[in-house]
Point group: C2
């Protein structure tokens, strides 16, 4: 079976490029609501599951011990653009556990967002670990470790308390076996586990609905998703897809992207979990897919559905601001 073309990029009157993908939407009872492409194929969810990875931070009491509010919890679930607010807050979170930038193990990089990068370069800055898009998650890991009284050194390692805790939580949520066999190393050096796409979607349905979760976990899941929806800037940044989508429908969409064309989301009011991947790993493909899937799932709300369709269909402009084409869903998706 091959994955269908879900998004096409046009130029003039013709289709120039095509993005294939797989989409799984699962409801609270675990029943598929939508399935396109090879939904039982294992997929590395990458950063799209940061909210799952942050559950232990809340469940353990660490988040409360360090006084984390919505912004901090949103940043713990974030792939941020390294804007000054993001970097400052990541540093502040670690400081509450008595730690600093040098204790992070995520590595440094320039912002992947041109405007931020240009500002950094102009200011004479050099990348540091707080600017890593995962620094909020890592701040959470450091706090989880310190609160548990475990030496934080090596917290990105497969066998460290932080990663084994996360592995257990994610295995429970998704029902997938996670271990060395399906483990890869993520951009920020922590393990990432390939799980069937529909199991990832089911895990998010559990987070959205609480069905099948213990009371503490259900509460922690709600708290994290609510924090992200309340502070969407801290989940991504200026003009970023996750931020945009959560701002479009306050409290009704939790959305988080991951590298290599992954997008996950929950619709709390419906108890749905969503996981999708653009086969080729492209961001523009995954963004058009999630926007269209959300518009379909909100077909009963014409206004929101319309906003989502408008957001999804991106006009492509060239260097002279001339419209040259569009990114749009294909018939198979729309």
């Amino acid at each position: 079976m091959s994955n269908p073309v879900l998004v096409e990029v046009t130029r003039g009157q013709l289709v120039e490029s095509r993005h294939r993908g797989m989409v799984s939407v699962i409801d609270a009872e675990g029943t598929p609501v939508m399935a396109l492409g090879e939904v039982s194929t294992p997929v590395f969810p990458r950063s799209a599951v940061k909210s799952m990875q942050a559950l232990a931070l809340v469940e353990s009491g660490a988040a409360d011990a360090y006084g984390f509010g919505d912004k901090e919890l949103a940043l713990a679930c974030a792939s941020h653009s390294g804007e000054p607010e993001h970097m400052r807050l990541a540093g502040d979170m670690a400081a509450r556990a008595g730690l600093s930038e040098a204790d992070f193990e995520c590595g440094c990089h320039w912002s992947s967002h041109q405007r931020v990068l240009i500002d950094q370069a102009r200011a004479g800055d050099m990348p540091d670990q707080l600017g890593n898009n995962c620094s909020g998650k890592h701040a959470g890991f450091l706090c989880l470790s310190c609160h548990a009284g475990v030496d934080h050194k090596g917290y990105v390692g497969y066998d460290h308390f932080v990663q084994s805790t996360i592995r257990d939580v994610m295995g429970d949520l998704t029902g997938a076996a996670l271990g060395h066999d399906n483990c890869g190393t993520d951009g920020c050096s922590i393990p990432t586990y390939a799980a069937p796409l529909n199991r990832i979607a089911h895990g998010f349905a559990r987070m959205a609905s609480g069905v099948g979760l213990g009371a503490e976990r259900a509460k922690a899941a709600q708290r994290l998703m609510s924090a992200c929806m309340a502070e969407p800037f801290y989940v991504a940044g200026t003009r970023r897809a996750c931020t945009d989508l959560m701002e479009l429908a306050p409290g009704r969409i939790f959305a988080k992207t991951g590298a290599e064309g992954v997008f996950c989301a929950t619709l709390p009011e419906k108890g749905y979990g969503i996981a999708l991947k653009c086969e080729d790993g492209s961001t523009r493909g995954a963004e058009a897919m999630i926007g269209t899937v959300l518009a379909k799932l909100f077909a009963d709300d014409q206004e929101l559905s319309g906003k989502l369709r408008t957001w999804t269909q991106k006009q492509l402009k060239n260097w002279n601001r001339i419209e040259v084409g569009v990114i749009r869903p294909t018939g198979d998706l729309a």
Copy 2:
């Protein structure tokens, strides 16, 4: 028919993302040497055909009139990184026709290459049209127009002398009907025409071999490809694929990429023309495809073939420089 997966991106022991594509290699007689995927599908070749677009500059005598050597001709065929040498030379080419940056109609953009962009931002520069990756081609267009005594204003327009000349040349070379029906607007605002991939490959085979071309055109084609192979830095830039490939095999490979996952090449010694497109438009996919195709076509030269395979298989490292995966050809391609 669907395009086969030609390149895969791994993480740990698993494949994380996949790139499909179509490849056409045609020999001097017009016979297919290799065909993968839908090779008769119309494809926008974008910047991969800049050498075809530069033929009139040479054939008209404009290149000689303005004293263009290898560097200038290479830049006329280039998608450069906007490094200082590229920008300076583009400005110098226009100046020989009495024109300046303000006469370009390509638009401005920051360099797409992070190192160059950071240098520009740190120097307090703002993007100008000489930094546009197409500025060398546009300098050539300006010179073609001025040499012909035609007002250069509006030279990017479909009906301008420059574009109608190019349309005729490319129609002759590819044997494809090029017109409004298959026309799109390129990033730098000139028309780009979707032609069947195997006709584009055949056009390059004609350029490589001279078969079926008049003596003047055959000479102009040789001169342009030789200039690019002699000055590969001016065709792209530091650590760029086109530059790398031409440096790997001096005088034996002419290679030029285009936006949205296109790569074209010629092998002068074999008289082959090559055109390929990564279905999803990705650069990493197209680069792995061209490297592997070139390695196969040079199977009779073990050393070169080995170098090309080594160049092709890119190790992916994360922000801590840990190896996390590779980009590699699939069995269908390799």
